[in-house]
Amino acid sequence: MAEPSLAADAKPWRDAAAKPFIRIKNITKKFGDFTAVDDVSLDIYKGELFCLLGGSGCGKSTLLRMLAGFETPTSGTIEIDGQDVASVAAFNRPTNMMFQSYALFPHMSVEKNVAYGLLREGVPKPEAMVRVADMLRLVKLDGFAKRKPHQLSGGQQQRVALARSLIKQPKLLLLDEPLGALDKKLREETQFELIRIQETLGVTFIVVTHDQEEAMTLSTRIGVMNDGKIVQVGEPPQIYEDPCSKYVADFIGSVNMFEGIVDAGVPDTLRIKSLEAGTELLVEPPQGLKIGQPVSVAIRPERIMLTREKPESPNVVYGEVEEVAYLGNVSTYRVKLENGKTLKVTKSNRLHDEEPIMWDEKVYLSWSKAAGIVLTE
């Protein structure tokens, strides 16, 4: 059998000619006066592991439920593999869903839960049972076939839910907060397990999550949602390094934000006057900014250097360490600037020889021109 070509390697979304597998066009969903999903358009490609990321109430679950067929869009169309699914009932769609609550049938054994989809499809029982056994092996649950769901741990139940949603080899698998109920360690293991299964089977995954770390680890691309709208779609590094708005910069990872006004610039450098920083911020100039325009400058905590001596750097500010948190691989600092603003700084702990910077020390904070991300909205 040929290796399924992986969207993670092929990156079809970079190719304008590539045909999307799922085409969401101008989808809006209203519940009474409340607009849960607001004019969302999105293309997702075959074999992708796409994450819909956002806070609670941002509309990500509603969008997923419309793909599954549990909610009908107020307007707009959804195409799956070239077929408009608007009039297709949930039980006839080529999608399967893994529910946040797992929704395992409590009166059926693990085996029967997993076989349910196959038997409804009319697969003969002996064949179904062979496939169920294979699937249980894939999710490492062989030996639990006869148990009832309530006899399993959370992690095991989660794997039954995954097995049940994969058994019909759906074209599209929808996962609603799949790892939400697991503890951190199990969650990390399961994340890689999910990627392994996704790559083995070549199924297209759409994952809904509020956990940005989970989205970063899992996905080929992330769609960040806020207030029913998709605010940015991109590969994880792109979303992190080049957020398009303050909301995205703030939601993904942590960030230091300065308000400022665009001042004159020399070639290769833009000056931004910022009262908040107490100085001028020097950044690499993005396109299309006017002098006098208000902007925000976002700087990631790990891009800021902490030193006792004044360094040679385009951006240097001075402050006092208020808090240090040692996290093992990194330490995070909160440094109070002279004008009262507090900055978050992350410092990796790989150097042993250096005397670590501690509480109440006066330090210089510096960052390169490339570290500042200029945001206009």
């Binding site: 599954a68 999608t95 049938f105 009166h107 409804r120």
Partner: protein, 312 residues
């Protein structure tokens, strides 16, 4: 602090009771146990005693169980009354007929009650409470009055016949009163809330995600209903059925008022034995036999409930 508490009157009482092997927990359990003893077990023993006596023209009309003879007390008991229940086919037929009427009434109640309970359980909140109140509302008027009202509806010149004649659906009045049909209508009407309420309590807990999961895996609405909804509501079905079946078997008022001379139910037989024939021992034997008959479904109910407890 410790001495203060240990010397308080409450502590003294509690420690005194504890010496007798009684603590708060035992006392709390004791109250309903004593209630059951006084109001269920003792009357039951009295009836049991009468059922092994012989009828006498006396007051009360049965022979005493304990007889004081020359050589002390002796016990006089007979199983003749129970044997008599088997000798006269009236009793067996009455039992069978009661079971039949109770069974079909239960089935009808389930068929009518399940959709109602399902609808109420799926309704949004303010509407749901209103519907539940409507289900319970008939209990606020006398049961007897409501059965009399049914006579007014079902009788030859009653509301139903007048309505159907007016519509031209029928040419002459339907004879419903004093038939088994009237008894079924009466029982199903009276006990329907007892079917709906436990079913509702069960169905309202049904997780929508399970129904969605079933649809998602390719099961249509009908398949989902029979494979997910029905099996998961089984404890409610059992509880509701028992609550209808058990009182329906012993029902007396409804067959007496709505049924005819041919309607044979054990409650009516019991009444006749007791008040018309004044044969208290046979009436008691009928009652005890009926109790034994009812204990079996109650045991089944208990079994179903303990199973439900397992899976929860």
């Amino acid at each position: 602090m410790t001495t203060l508490r240990s010397s308080s009157p409450w502590r003294l009482t509690a420690s005194g009771l504890a010496k007798l092997g009684l603590n708060g927990r035992a006392l709390v359990i004791a109250v309903p146990m004593i209630w059951l003893l006084v109001f269920f077990l003792i009357p039951f023993l009295v009836v049991l005693k009468i059922s092994v006596a012989e009828p006498m023209i006396a007051r009360p009309p049965y022979s005493p169980l304990f007889i004081e003879g020359q050589d002390g007390w002796s016990i006089k008991a007979t199983l003749g009354n129970y044997a008599y229940l088997f000798e006269d086919s009236l009793y067996i037929n009455a039992y069978l007929s009661s079971i039949k009427i109770a069974f079909f009434s239960t089935v009808f109640s389930l068929l009518i009650g399940y959709p109602m309970a399902y609808y109420i359980a799926r309704s949004p909140e303010p509407k749901r409470s209103l519907l539940l109140i409507l289900i319970v509302l008939p209990f606020w008027t006398s049961f007897l009055l409501r059965v009399y009202a049914w006579i007014g509806i079902l009788k030859g010149k009653g509301v139903l016949n007048a309505f159907l004649l007016k519509l031209g659906v029928i040419n002459e009045p339907l004879i419903i009163m004093q038939t088994d049909i009237a008894v079924y209508i009466g029982i199903v009407y009276t006990y329907l809330p007892f079917m709906i309420l436990p079913l509702y309590a069960n169905l309202v807990k049904l997780d929508d995600a399970l129904l969605e999961a079933s649809a998602d895996l390719g099961a249509g609405p009908i398949s989902t209903f029979f494979r997910i909804t029905i099996p998961l509501s089984l404890p409610g079905i059992v509880a509701g059925s028992m609550l209808v079946f058990i009182p329906a078997i012993g029902e007396f008022v409804i067959p007496a008022l709505l049924g005819g001379p041919d309607t044979l139910m054990i409650g009516k037989v019991l009444w006749t034995e007791f008040f018309s024939n004044r044969d208290w021992p046979v009436a008691s034997a009928v009652a005890i036999a009926m109790l034994v008959l009812l204990v079996i479904p109650i045991m089944l109910l208990r079994l179903a409930q303990s199973k439900q407890g397992d899976s929860a």
